[in-house]
Symmetry: C2
Subunit: 94 residues, 2 copies
């Protein structure tokens, strides 16, 4: 697993929907909105199971129907294909 | 459900463990740490089921084994007994 370059991140972000690179260039982020808390936490639960299986965990904030997710790969000090993979999974679940 | 006064919050916070009033006085907060993500999300799941049953939802942030929770009651514009109840539940679960 290696750190993606800015150009590689640009390309990779085209594979997912609505994810943007953080200002510091170290993570990708997206805010998801649902009907209510039940749907939002159901979404989080599916991500959590996937994340634990991948041993690659999100940084996330939830209030009621909103889930803000940031994905970064600490081992490489930036964004890797693992983040793109988990982002694509989150899009599929939502 | 009514808004607790600062004095009432002081008393109520003695019923729970390690919760503090936010600087703006509108919410109570605590950071929980666990062994790993699996334990942290297991904790969150138990809170989520309780919160949805109470129709009283946390604002929370999670990264790996850490869960930061803020509890406030929007309907009263501050802290109510609902927040104290959910805080006590979180302590029990942790």
């Amino acid at each position: 697993m290696s750190k993606l370059s800015p150009a590689e991140i640009d390309v990779a972000l085209k594979e997912v929907s609505g994810w943007t690179l953080a200002d510091d260039g170290l993570s990708i982020q997206k805010t998801f909105k649902f009907k209510d808390f039940n749907q939002a936490f159901g979404f989080m639960t599916r991500i959590a199971l996937k994340a634990d299986k991948m041993d690659h965990h999100p940084e996330w904030f939830n209030v009621y129907n909103k889930v803000e997710i940031a994905l970064t790969t600490h081992d490489v000090g930036g964004v890797s294909q693992k983040d793109i993979k988990l982002a694509a999974f989150a899009d599929d679940v939502a």
